[in-house]
């Protein structure tokens, strides 16, 4: 085996997947070639590093942090969903309250506004005042009555 063959079969050797005869030739080459054996030992150290990486364990509190984040996200989503409902209802609520206020105002005005009588003024005085204010109407009415006659 030459150095180029060694490079070709390197991963097969590291993963123990070489046929027996090729593996023998590979190992024989390593004994005779110093640079190739150094390369292989470096590769083995990388394989060990990968194995060590596989044993790396995440922080024990990582799960708790993930759960906290998920729960806070769920809560904020629920809050936004509620807010969105309100946002949808807001124009309707404002319009309804305006209409209600107008209606109530109209009712109050109708109840009190037409029967306003200042304090200390009796019914006769009111009638006199009315006849004085609308005297022209009375004259018109009298004239029409006379002309009819």
């Amino acid at each position: 085996m030459v150095c180029a063959d060694m490079k070709k079969n390197l991963f097969g050797y590291l993963e123990d997947k070489l046929p027996a005869d090729v593996q023998c030739a590979f190992e024989e080459h390593l004994q005779s070639c110093k640079s190739c054996s150094e390369i292989v030992s470096e590769c083995i150290s990388f394989e060990k590093l990968i194995s060590k990486e596989k044993t790396t364990v995440p922080n024990t509190f990582a799960g708790t942090r993930i759960l906290q984040r998920l729960e806070s996200e769920l809560e904020s989503r629920n809050y936004h969903r509620r807010i969105n409902h309100l946002r949808f209802l807001q124009p309707a609520l404002i319009t309804f309250s305006l209409i209600l206020a107008l209606f109530i105002g109209f009712l109050i005005g109708r109840e009190n506004g037409l029967n306003v009588r200042p304090e200390g003024v009796n019914k006769v005085q009111t009638e006199n005042l009315k006849s004085y204010l609308f005297i022209s109407d009375f004259i018109d009415e009298e004239q029409t009555l006379l002309s009819n006659k």
Partner: protein
Amino acid sequence: MTDQELIEGIKRHDRIAIRQLVDQYQKKVIKTAYYFLGNMEDAEDLSQEIFLEIMESIKKFRKEASFTTWVYRITVNKSLNKIRKDKRRAIISSLESVFHSPQGKGANHLAIPSPCCFPFEEQEKRALLYQAIGRLPENQRIAFVLQKFEEQSYKEIAEVMSMSLSSIESLIHRAKMNLQKRLLPHFSEYSKK
């Protein structure tokens, strides 16, 4: 709780199902993200985004693959997105430092931070390994990481990547050859030391 019950529970935002999901998958998710990012803190932070994504897109899960495969798919995609984002950010900040610093030297943000528990030489090797893996084309990187670190079978990888078995075999072979090509020059440097 079966996968089906778990999926239905997550759809309803049931707290017990969510807890079960986290308990069952947190290690897999964090470790897979870690093998792509090379940094445990980043992987743990990203895992929160991954679980959120799982919750958000559970309605889109069409049961064509197993739930585990689907979780792996999301993890891999999210990890690759984070790498892309970090690279873009690193390029922008190095450009900024070129224009703003008096010396005109850009910081090397692409370096893999190493955990302090590793000895110095091992840290160097670790950084070298992750850099070499990081420079692989995306498909080769996914296949290599899932096979070498996650010890998944070719069939499982094929499901995660939605590819045929033969394509996965050739991807892994090419990934190994590429890594060999990238790492061998460094080996000779080590052997000179």
